[in-house]
Amino acid sequence: MSDHILEMRHITKEFPGVKALDDVSLEVRRGEIHALVGENGAGKSTLMNVLSGIYPHGSYEGEIVYNGKPCRFSTIRDSEKSGIVIIHQELALVPFLSIAENMFLGNERGSALNINWNETYAKADELLQVVGLHESSHTLIKDISVGKQQLVEIAKALSKNVQLLILDEPTASLNESDSMKLLNLLKEFKKKGVTSIIISHKLNEIAYVADQITIIRDGSVIETLDMAQTAVDEGRIIRGMVGRELTNRFPRREHHVSDEVVLEVEHWSVQHALYSDRTVVDDVSFILKKGEVVGIAGLMGAGRTELAMSIFGRSYGNDIRGTLKIHGKEVVLNSERDAIRHGLAYVTEDRKGNGLILSNPIRVNTSLARLDKVSRHRVIDLDLEHNLAVDMKDKLGIKCPTVEQIVGNLSGGNQQKVLLAKWMFAEPDIMILDEPTRGIDVGAKYEIYCIINDLVAAGKSVIMISSEMPEVLGMCDRIYVMSEGKIVGEMNADSATQERIMSSILSVNKGA
């Protein structure tokens, strides 16, 4: 009876060690707005990348039927040719090119040797009218706001004769009025016959635009809800998103929390590193006690990493305000070195980009933050360094033949352990772990949880930033919830549930 523009059948996609999608089927009706919801890492983006050809045909199992014909896209170009356009959360615009140049990038008007600029700008202006953006197409991308950039992306999609538009969290960085504008635009498109798939965490927005909602969890489709047939409230969606059982994926832990407060952050605010008018951390206050694991839950982009890095010797952000007390004494940490000296450690979420020197051996990475421990008068005792690195390797169970192994050759889980080893070697009192188990398999996760438990048992304190709610619930003594730069909730582990965390995140979005 209903006409499906897209059917994805039994899609399974595996990454080394992880099954990102497990037998997922999705049906999208022509001319509807279809919402995909689920936690971070549930597999929404992977599914859309399979659809758009970023993961080429053959790298996944299953079948895609589009407009009644089976499709085998091997590049993005293939899928765009058939009218499927994906707009990523991280906008793919070139800042120093004009709106029009960006819109027709890779799809230039005229011939390859002779771009027809008149046609380019005229067509661009026409499309900007359609999306309701009142800017000249000659304006450079860097000079317009993020909201407007999002509209440029949509105009760009229109220039490719889009039939199926995929938006990955389009409103994540938009304010309320820009978001409404965008959502209304999608409704306009619907009338013109353009089908949209929207990935979003903002349930109020989804309730506003979506015709069907598909909930994905742990790489599987949980259910598809038809808004026309069933009355769907947000509680219903949240239950679908998080309703998994907590099995014994976490080591048993004893509580070591003492009353001594080791870290106190008061009224901490940080501006974005590049766009100083954007507040990424907004008046945050929290405390950390000795022997405590404090979780900071929230969605990606909530400002957690920015908070942690700005505390760690101002390594991120502009115009950092607020006070910081370590062991009750107010301190000003002006550099990473200061922070390390005051017993802080920040274990980054981006181990390859910010954490490890991949071209160097384990030994060198282990000692890097505290070379003074293995050197006298600035001369390194290479043998001592080697032995201490071996100690750390054994302690953390890093699987490698020798500590001279180049870190780039290790598996993700072992790299994460080397990163932990590096910071444990620095002997901090307070460790900030940013997504410590991202991208590693279940077994390695368990070992890292054990290491965290050993740390607090030895009197250290840990702040654990994680987007995986079960992990936060399973590992922490106390949990703060962050959303849009603010702390929006605090709860003890015993009283916390995934539903409580999710609803405190979403309550803010609703208010916005």
Partner: protein, 397 residues
Amino acid sequence: MSSKNADLWEKTKSFLLKNTMVIALVLVYLFFIIKSEGRMFLPQNINNLIMQNSYVVILAVGMLLCILTGGNIDLSVGASVCLVGAIAGVLMVNLGWNIYLSMVVCLLIGVAIGVWQGFWIAYVRVPPFIVTLAGMLLFRGLAQAILGGLTISGFSEDFLSIFNNYVNIPALDSGAVKYSSIIFGVLCCLVYIVATVLTNMNKKRKGYTAERPASLYTKIVIICVIVMLLMYKLSLYKGIPFILLWLIGIVAIYTYITAKTTFGRHFYALGGNEKATKLSGINTNRIYFSAYVNVSFLSALAALVVAARFTSANPAAGTNYELDAIGSCFIGGASAYGGIGKVSGAVIGAVLMGVLNLGMNIIGVDSNFQKVVKGLVLLVAVIFDVVSKRRAVKSIA
């Protein structure tokens, strides 16, 4: 049995990969010895090899530290050599200053050049390519203005002797064979052997993993043979040139700094991953700054060497020296992306370039064609580096 063979093959392969450039150097040298019917191996030519390439070694060591920070190069070293040489000429010849005072002033000017460039690169973050390109014009121009387009000659014998003379101990070196050279070689070998054996015993005593005796002794034998051969050849000519002692000193100091000190380690870390280095509490700006101050300091030293060798300061001095230095580093295995490279590698690269130059001159290759050969050697060396690394990455995935 087959696994043993495979193991042996793996070991040979890794040995070959690690020492490719040494092997290449030996092969190229043998090639020229055969082609030149032994002339390449004459004592005088070995002496020339050292004298002609001393400045390349000094500059390559300085350049290496810049390249380590992330593949950054210094294009201005040739111009700095010219400028400092010009100033040396003015001070020593035209103004007749004391030579030691003049040399100190020259080295300080080198440091000043480095501070100027290092400041823009490290603290203002102007790309090094731009800053040093500007420096190349700037310093060359200043040098030519100082010299007024003319050559200053007539350096005092006292100054020239510092770099150009030979070790001469009357009791040993009055005959045709300069025995001081042989004695020096023996001493070097003894020191080397004792030091290696002692460190190894020390390692064993402290319970660290020591090197296997077989490979240890092979290494000792090979190095001692090379040293003794070199010293024997030199003893048949004029003995040990002073400049060789300078080079040994510089190479030893920088080898120690890069391999054993925290300061040296920071260069490798910075080139490997700048963000991670900064988050480890290391002042990355200061590392960039010191790399450029250092390379300019060594350029100033090279300028004095060059001025002494040509016994003059001329407006064209130092032309293309930066390219020799950069080439030596890359041929010697420094990564074009930074973070990888050794002082010994840069020295081997410089020697290889020197052997190519000298060898092609001796067998009479056309000078235009010489450039072609050197260009190809540089390209092949870097291709080898990139490809072998890519293969390593693939084997992980």
